[in-house]
């Protein structure tokens, strides 16, 4: 995304809104992660406590999801940069 055509007041306004969106993105990512790891790891409801096996699965699931998101984000940024270099200039 290219903001060079925006004036300083507009850029400042955008920055503030983007900070708010990043907080919302983070919260949504958090709840998606809980949902995803719960659904994948918890299948036994004969007990209300998390078993040690389930707990380990949740920790690995969280860990792996974040690493996955980071890798996707890195590739996404590269592809986006390529697409914009080709498209807008």
């Amino acid at each position: 995304m290219d903001f060079s055509t925006m004036n300083a007041a507009e850029q400042a306004h955008m920055t503030k809104i983007i900070e708010k969106k990043q907080m919302q993105d983070f919260l949504r990512m958090y709840s998606n992660l809980v949902e995803r790891c719960f659904n994948s790891c918890c299948n036994d409801f004969t007990s209300k406590a998390l078993s040690s096996k389930e707990e380990q699965c949740v920790l690995n699931c969280t860990d792996k999801f974040l690493k996955h998101s980071e890798r996707v984000g890195a590739r996404f940024a590269e592809q986006n940069a390529d697409a914009m270099g080709a498209g807008s200039k």
Binding site: M1, D2, F3, Q11, M14, T15, I18, K20, K21, Q22, M23, Q24, D25, F26, L27, R28, M29, Y30, S31, L33, V34, E35, C37, F38, N39, C41, C42, N43, F45, T46, S47, K48, A49, L50, E54, E55, V58, L59, T62, D63, L66, S69, E70, V72, G73, F76, A77, N80
Partner: protein
């Protein structure tokens, strides 16, 4: 889930920042609740719908399901704090605005 900070209070009027934060927290709670309802429905409720009441097995399953979901919520929260992953969340926003 009260992990959002609070701003300073003015005397009588509405502090938009504080209202904003409370609304963000409310949206978060609603989102988690809706996911909880859906997940436990998938885990506990038979899709045959032979009757309209919850049977004994379904009721017990729901109670345990909510309890486990909260434990998972706690574990994921702790893990995110350990990893200092606040940054990793807003992937697209950061990818798209890295140059600002």
């Amino acid at each position: 889930m009260s992990f959002l900070g609070r701003g300073n209070t003015p005397a009588g009027g509405v502090n938009p920042e504080r209202v904003e934060m409370a609304l963000q927290e409310l949206d978060m709670i609603t989102d988690v609740f809706n996911k909880l309802v859906t997940s436990c429905h998938t885990k506990c409720i038979s899709a045959r719908y032979a009757e309209g009441d919850l049977n004994k097995g379904e009721s017990v399953c729901i109670d345990r399901c909510v309890s486990k979901f909260f434990e998972v919520n706690k574990k994921v929260g702790e893990k995110l704090q350990t990893m200092g992953a606040g940054a990793a969340g807003a992937g697209a926003t950061q990818s798209a605005f890295g140059q600002m």
